[in-house]
Symmetry: C2
């Protein structure tokens, strides 16, 4: 039996196993799910073992565990280190889901659940490709797995693990499926990723909630002040006003920008998919550029005062926001965090106090397109999808890409199979069965090609 035949024959079980994984609400951001995060790690361990791994370990960290697994078939062969994560984003707001986020359903050939795509679905493809190669005696490269449980909260403990396990993690390339292709008609490989600085800010006005009639007009309202401070972080052209913010932003040549803008993109479809009348962003850049090569500042959450039913005339004591910035080469996450903090503190009026707390960050990254691994990935797509994949720059962040480069000296291939419309991080996240099965096939081809081209 060929590996492809094995994959086809076991489609139903491959899907069922993913559904089992999706039923575990492994939300890393919220302490009340910590037992479930542990359960998900154990499930990955079992699945790696049954797929044929020789060594599988659930490695404890200061936070959630990292699952490590390997199957070394011949030290002379190249080694592929697969990275993925079994933790998921919070599922709020629950009321916007058409079916419960942790009770996966298949509808219109798609699996609906939190994590269906990001990253349980995409990560689990690698375990199934491994099983298929192993079962058909077709494993062409040595394989290592490092599946973590803190990606959605900043991978705080991954760096220590990587630094302490350099020997164990020796490999020739890192392979990650946690990105999207342009469409099922237009496969693509991500070669650039944005970095991240994520902040939480607290603005305090009076020391207690006040009656807005008795005090309103004379005492600074922390919500109004927070709104003013946030508004001032961008100018009328959509430029971020934090001093020094753009100092290290790499400017692309006009040729590079031209190539980037040749990727298929229909503004009308984009607008109608999101039901918006107009896109919005930094003046002077296209939508592809705004999400690919330019840094951003978004408020991810805001709260303060009375948010219940009806009306309450309160002048609140405090207002809060979660604010994140997507970074591009060669911005440095810690530096941007510092610039933001200093600036935000400096613009606070004397009538309030502010507290700025960094959540997590990650560095932007660009991966090479002239490597053996990129060629292997490109050829795998060509065979499985019938089309040469287009190299793209994605807006999202996978901060560990630059960590792997720095600590392990390894480049990464970002062979993702999701779609932008999969609603990752949103209600009704889903993942196409076509993408799941086709991805498993493409991954197996990558290993075959990588062994071949490395000779």
């Amino acid at each position: 039996m060929t590996t492809k035949e094995y994959i086809d024959n076991h489609q139903q079980r491959f899907i069922d196993e993913l559904l089992d994984l999706l039923r575990i609400p492994s939300v890393s951001a919220d302490g009340k799910f910590s037992n479930d995060v542990k359960k998900a790690a154990d499930y990955i361990k079992q699945r790696l073992e049954s797929a044929g791994a020789d060594i599988v370990e659930v490695c404890e960290t200061a936070g959630h565990p990292i699952v490590y697994g390997e199957k070394i078939i011949d030290p002379a062969l190249p080694t592929v280190l697969v990275y993925g994560h079994y933790d998921v984003q919070p599922a709020d707001p629950y009321e916007l889901w058409d079916s419960p986020p942790f009770e996966p359903v298949i509808k219109d050939e798609k699996i609906y659940a939190r994590g269906a795509c990001d990253d349980k679905g995409q990560m689990y493809m690698h375990i199934k490709a491994f099983e298929a190669m192993n079962a058909t005696n077709a494993q062409a490269c040595n394989l290592k797995f490092m599946i973590e449980g803190e990606e959605e909260v900043g991978s705080d403990n991954l760096e220590t693990f990587v630094r302490e396990n350099k020997e164990k993690l020796t490999a020739d390339v890192i392979l990650i499926s946690d990105t999207a292709i342009i469409s099922n008609d237009t496969p693509s490989i991500t070669v650039g990723l944005r970095g991240l600085s994520y902040m939480e800010v607290e603005v305090t006005g009076p020391s207690r909630d006040l009656h807005s009639g008795v005090y309103g007009g004379a005492v600074a309202n922390p919500i109004n002040v927070l709104c003013e401070m946030i508004a001032s972080l961008k100018d009328a052209n959509g430029h971020i006003t934090i001093p020094g913010f753009y100092d290290k932003v790499a400017e692309l040549s006009s040729d590079e920008r031209k190539a980037l803008n040749e990727a298929p993109f229909e503004l009308d479809e984009y607008r109608s998919d999101l039901d918006i009348n107009e896109v919005a962003g930094e003046n002077g850049f296209t939508t592809i550029e705004r999400t690919g090569i330019r840094p951003t500042l978004d408020v991810n959450g805001i709260w303060g005062g009375y948010i219940g039913e009806g009306a309450k005339t309160v002048l609140p004591s405090k207002a809060y926001a979660k604010i994140s910035m997507r970074l591009v080469p060669h911005q440095v996450s810690d530096e941007i965090t510092d610039l933001f903090t200093k600036h935000f503190e400096s613009i606070a009026p004397a009538s309030v106090k502010v507290n700025v707390k960094p959540h997590h960050g990650g560095e932007p990254a660009v991966t090479p397109t002239d490597s053996t691994a990129y060629a292997a990935a490109s050829a795998a797509f060509e065979k499985a999808w019938g089309k040469t994949p287009i190299p793209t720059r994605d807006g999202g962040s996978i901060p560990i890409v630059s960590l792997f480069k720095e600590v392990l000296g390894l480049d990464t291939v970002l062979m993702g199979f999701g779609l932008d419309s999969d609603a990752i991080h949103s209600p009704n996240e889903h993942y196409g069965l076509f993408n799941y099965m086709k991805g498993i096939e493409t991954i197996a081809l990558f290993h075959e090609n990588f062994a071949q081209l490395s000779k």
Copy 2:
């Protein structure tokens, strides 16, 4: 026994009865408390009956009921119509209360509970003053009570009730205790009240929550946009930028402003009480003027995106705010609501949709200081507190004052006994036992004086 002696003799029971009333969580804004609102109305009915009312009715409305009671002793005597409310503000945030909001406790000679002052405590003083006068054959005026259950949500059904019961509500003056005195050393009578327009706004960006990495920078973030819109509602001088907003604002003469600023006020104490470094407000006006004679715009609540623990990189679909404006003579609530709505819609960028919903409003009011009723109230304070009360303009709103003037042709005396530090609408609302008992005494004196001066 004199009325004063009766009051002193029954102090413990007067307090206990108020505590019973405070145990009923009659939050009018939240549907889940509607049975409790009904229970509070029934409790007021019983207490009016035992105090000696001849007629007591719980009058159904389209919302929460109005309790009406009366004791007419002689049609030739003047009639005082007491207005108050038995509903309370929501108690959120519960976690900031030192003791549960609906389990009243007495600490440092103060009753701590939601509604302790606003307005259960202040309203109930009138029922106890009535009981004391009745029991000691000292009732000098006819008495009518109209105690409603929707003051904290805009008194939506009171206007219909008043218009349909003009005959029943015939009186010579309205008496209300729902305001504050300057301090226990400096009694005062409120002669001006601000009006209110209360709005809820919704800003919609994309039709679903998005991943802030994939879409951030290219799609308008409704939280950022809402912040920008709110920030633009005031200029650098603290002036509200809504066109036409100030057109009808009465400008006081410099003599009037001078008189207003002669009320005792210590900026240092004010700042240290609120733990703020600086006050803030409209340039060119003092703190007393900012809360007394100038209109305001405050965000009472804001929410959107991820507000749970940890970090979520979401570009949300929607953001919301509750925004209220305090109005001064001769602004008109409905007109300001219209001006706000039109302006807010007009400043929305093409990348979002906005929806503006008015909650409730009320007109600003000024009450006369040259009336018999004001003289009666002033003399009552003088006798009970040993000091002539200072006429003040309060920042809060009691919208029904202008309704009573318009429909019933009656002026109101705002004889309140609270303190600004009572934390009404806030966690740990409280009411001093001294103010409660002294208020009952002062109210009884008002009736005696009003009958006397009306002769």
